[in-house]
Amino acid sequence: MAPATQRLEVTLETQLESVDLAENIVTRVAEAAGFGEDDIHKLGMAVREGVVNAYNYGNAQDPQKKILLVVEFESEQMVVHIVDEGRGFDLSQVADPLAEENLLRTSGRGIFLMRAFMDDLAVRRWPTGGADLVMWKKLPHRAAGNGRS
């Protein structure tokens, strides 16, 4: 597999302010990558939800812990990693917020929104430890090339 050609890595503090910061970083990167306004908003929201998860659950609001935000560009897609110091979780075990019995819950919609806004979502172990919430978004259509084969 060809290596990612561009990569941005930011270490965030486990604090509420990091949620806005991560969202702002990703929306600016998405804009520079040529995403439209709607997709920029979706990317920002998905990252917001991911960092909130890392803050609340992965790092249990512990200010001693860090959140790693990594944005990579592969040939066809933008890949975002949100890495916390937790154990991770099984996506298939997350309760369905659309189920009738869950509609009046005041939490539990973050993963659902990430799935709705991104093309794909997975939870893995980060190579150096911690839980990696990774999400993919296909890059916007590029204009036609210069005609050279």
């Binding site: 509420l16 949620v19 929201m45 909130v52 917020p97 509609l103 005041t106 919609r109 659902f112 929104l113």
Partner: protein
């Protein structure tokens, strides 16, 4: 912009005009606080005007749901009016149109309270 809310009355209906973002932190906490204060003050007909709310995350949605159950628990009614497109889209995809009474305009909303 941080969430701001101001309250006004139209007859028995308490209308809260919000502006800004309803997101995790002070914004969502303020919404919770204002609705709780209204309910504690005996108000049972509450309308949330979201015309100037351009952003809501899952925490904000959670607070809206919490506000709804708080008011319903006190035998009151909570309704929403003037959803922006982004808020409407979130409420749509989370199936919360089956929970919230979303009114088309303020006059219709005020009339709709029992």
């Amino acid at each position: 912009m941080a969430l701001q809310g101001t309250c006004r009355d139209v007859g028995e209906v308490a209308i809260v005009d919000f502006s800004g973002k309803i997101t995790l932190g002070e914004g969502s906490a303020m919404l919770r606080r204002m609705v709780r204060e209204l309910v504690d003050g005996g108000r049972r007909k509450i309308l949330l005007n979201l015309a100037d709310v351009d952003y809501i995350d899952s925490s904000g949605i959670g607070e809206l749901v919490g506000a709804y159950t708080t008011v319903r628990g006190a035998n009151g009614e909570l309704k929403l009016v003037h959803l922006t497109k982004r808020v409407r889209d979130i409420i749509q995809i989370t199936r919360l149109f089956t929970v919230f009474d979303v009114q088309p305009d303020e006059a219709a909303a005020v009339r709709s309270f029992r």
